[in-house]
Structure formats: structure tokens, C-alpha cells
Symmetry: D2
Subunit: 117 residues, 4 copies
């Protein structure tokens, strides 16, 4: 919602490959490249896990690699969440009222899902 307004004043929200200085409608948009790179590394880790299984790698070594991938995903989630709080939630809070309440409840629910996963 807040994103829409931010977008309204922005001439070219994300024309081609403008990946810097808040080029998109969400909190994380400024770091899109970083996030995609990070996720590619995680994708590589998961492909590595497949090779480990195919090559009969020792179970415990696979589990160690799973822990590393899970940690990397959680760490990605945390950086996304931080930007979400810093931008989307902050925008909602500026306007105050029901929308702010909603955004906080929504973020808390997301944190709860991360904790349970």
C-alpha cells in the first residue's frame, strides 16, 4: 500500500536494471542484486546437497551442510525483515492507525513462522 505511494513519486520504478537507491516498491528493492546473489549461493548449496546424496557422502557431513543452508536462508530472511521494518512498517507507522497495527501484526506472524520453521 505504502509502496504504491512511494512508487507514485518515482518516475521509473525499476526500469531495466536500475538496482540501486530504492529502485523498487519494497524495502528490500535497493538490495535486490545482493539478495538474488545470496539466494543463488543458497541454490548452489542445495545442488551441492544433491551431489552429496548421489555420491554417498557420509550422513553427518550432509547434515552439517543442511545446517549451513538453513542458516543462510534464515540470515536472508532476517535481512529482508530488517528492510521491511525499516521501510514498509515505518511507512505504515507514519500514517498510524489501523494500518500500522496491521503491519506490525503481519510482521510478528512472519517472525513466528520463521521461529517455528
Amino acid at each position: 500500500m505504502d509502496a504504491v505511494e512511494a512508487l507514485a513519486t518515482e518516475e521509473t520504478p525499476h526500469a531495466e536494471t536500475t538496482h540501486s537507491a530504492h529502485s523498487g516498491p519494497h524495502g528490500y528493492s535497493a538490495r535486490k542484486d545482493d539478495h538474488v546473489k545470496r539466494l543463488r549461493r543458497i541454490e548452489g548449496q542445495v545442488r551441492g546437497l544433491q551431489r552429496m546424496v548421489e555420491n554417498d557422502t557420509y550422513c553427518i557431513d550432509i547434515l552439517t551442510q543442511v545446517s549451513a543452508s538453513t542458516k543462510a536462508l534464515q540470515s536472508f530472511a532476517l535481512s529482508l525483515l530488517e528492510e521491511h521494518l525499516r521501510h514498509c512498517v515505518a511507512d505504515a507507522m507514519e500514517k498510524g492507525g489501523a494500518e500500522a497495527e496491521e503491519k506490525v501484526a503481519e510482521a510478528t506472524a512472519a517472525i513466528s513462522r520463521l521461529l517455528r520453521s
Copy 2:
């Protein structure tokens, strides 16, 4: 690494004490296909996350998908761990002594890493 070498010299994985139908040198070998399929789905989820970031998907929706991927990885780890206990640790326990102690300590350390990740 050690697993691979052990594998090279091993003619008959563990002839006498072969627990059920596992065809390879590790507990999870019988379900290798399942595991690889599962990991491919997780790889697909992580690629989906990249598309979500690229398409400016709402942060919270990305976080929900991260939770799903983390849960899938943990679930994979648990099934691997179960087979490890059922086979590798069971084998070591049959022989008893220091090796059994070691295997249990090693499995516990792996569980601890999963809990902390």
C-alpha cells in the same frame, strides 16, 4: 571425504549385518532417489525465491516462502538423521565400545547444529 575413501575399499558394504534393504554404504542409500527428488523441489523453491525478489514480491510473502524452504530442509535433515540412527549408529552399537559412543556424540552434535541453525 573419509566416507568416499572407505567406500572405495569396501567390497561388500556390511555383509553380515545388513539391516533391511539398504543398497548403499549409508543408511540413507535405499532412499537416495527420494532424497534427491526432495532436494530438487527445495532447489526449485530457492529459485522461486529469486524470482520473487526480482519481481518485487511483497516482503512478507517472500518470508513465508523462506519459512517453507527452511521447513523442507529441516524435514529432509530429520529423515536423513532417522536413517542414520537406524543404520550407521545401530551398526556401531552392535560393535559397541568406543565407536558406538563416538557415533552417538557425533549424531548429537549434528542435532545441536540443526537446532541452532
Copy 3:
């Protein structure tokens, strides 16, 4: 308990910046009683764990109870965090600038600690 009652008679915690109905200096102050009650139940669970160990309860049953206590603590943390975002972080965001940035970084670090624990 008496601290909570004392709070009720507290004149004006921080008059100017009082956001909505919270009666104390922190986001969670309005629900102090609830929180303390909740923590007492968790304390009771931990005492129950001691009895279980003393009475030689089966290991797995103790582990189930540990999971319940951990979940209860996480759930308490989440409700505290939600109120913190709703009040303390919102206050900082209203003022904006460095303080808001700091509060968000601080909250993110706390979430990270919860995820790793």
C-alpha cells in the same frame, strides 16, 4: 504483583509521548499482569521438569515437556516483541533519523538471537 499495582497508580509515565493506552514506560507495560502470569506458568513447567527427572520419567516424555516450555518461552518473546514494535519502535520511527534506524537494528538482532536459540 504489587509492582503492577504500583504501576496502576503511576502518575504520568512519559506524558508527552504516551502512545495509546499503555500505562508504563515500555510497550509491554499494559499487559504486565498477563506476562507475569504467563512466566509463572512457564516457571511451573520448569519445576515440573525437575519432578519428572527426580521421578525417573521416561526421557522422551521429558523432551516433550521441554519442547512445550521452549514453545511457551518463544511465544512470550513474540508477544513482547510485537508490543515493542508497536510502541518503542513506533515512537522512534515517529522521531525518525538515527534513532529509528538503531531501534530497527536492535530489534532485528533480538529476533536473530531468538532464531538461533
Copy 4:
């Protein structure tokens, strides 16, 4: 292993307060005192949390203490689990068959609950 066998011939598993050298029927019995002491410390931490709430301690500091308590509970669970694998599961594995399978499935389910909590 031999400790467990010794236990089989024991007349009175935990007569009075014999808290040493495998005095009880479970894997963790030898360390009962340690476990109870550990749980008492955790109980103290949870009581500390109540005082923090009552004294209007800053939310983030309370969250840090919650993380510490959760970590302590998880660590207690891990040591219990390790002893469970080392003794109860090992015993079942010695007998083999359905009971061993069951014990491993049961332990895995307990680990899963810990991961989700």
C-alpha cells in the same frame, strides 16, 4: 552398555537418594543431580524474567534473557537425548527388530518437536 546390564540385575533401582552410578532406570539417571541443578538454574532464569517484567526492564533486554533460557532448555534437552540414545535406544537396538525401529522413530519425533519449538 555394561552399566545398563548391571542395572538389569539391580534390585532397587533408585532406593532413597542414591544419585550416582546409574541409580535409576533411564539413560539420564546417572546424571540426575546435574540435570536437576541445571533445571533449577533455568527456573531461576524464568523467575528473573518475571522480575524484569515487574521492574519495567527494557523489552530487548528481556528478549535477550528469553533467548538465554531457551538455549539452556535446548541444551538440557540435547544432553538428555544423548543419554537416551546411548542407553535406551542402544538397549533396544541390541534386542533389534520392531522395538529398535520404534525407539528410533520415537527419538526422531522428539527431535522434530525440539526443532519446531
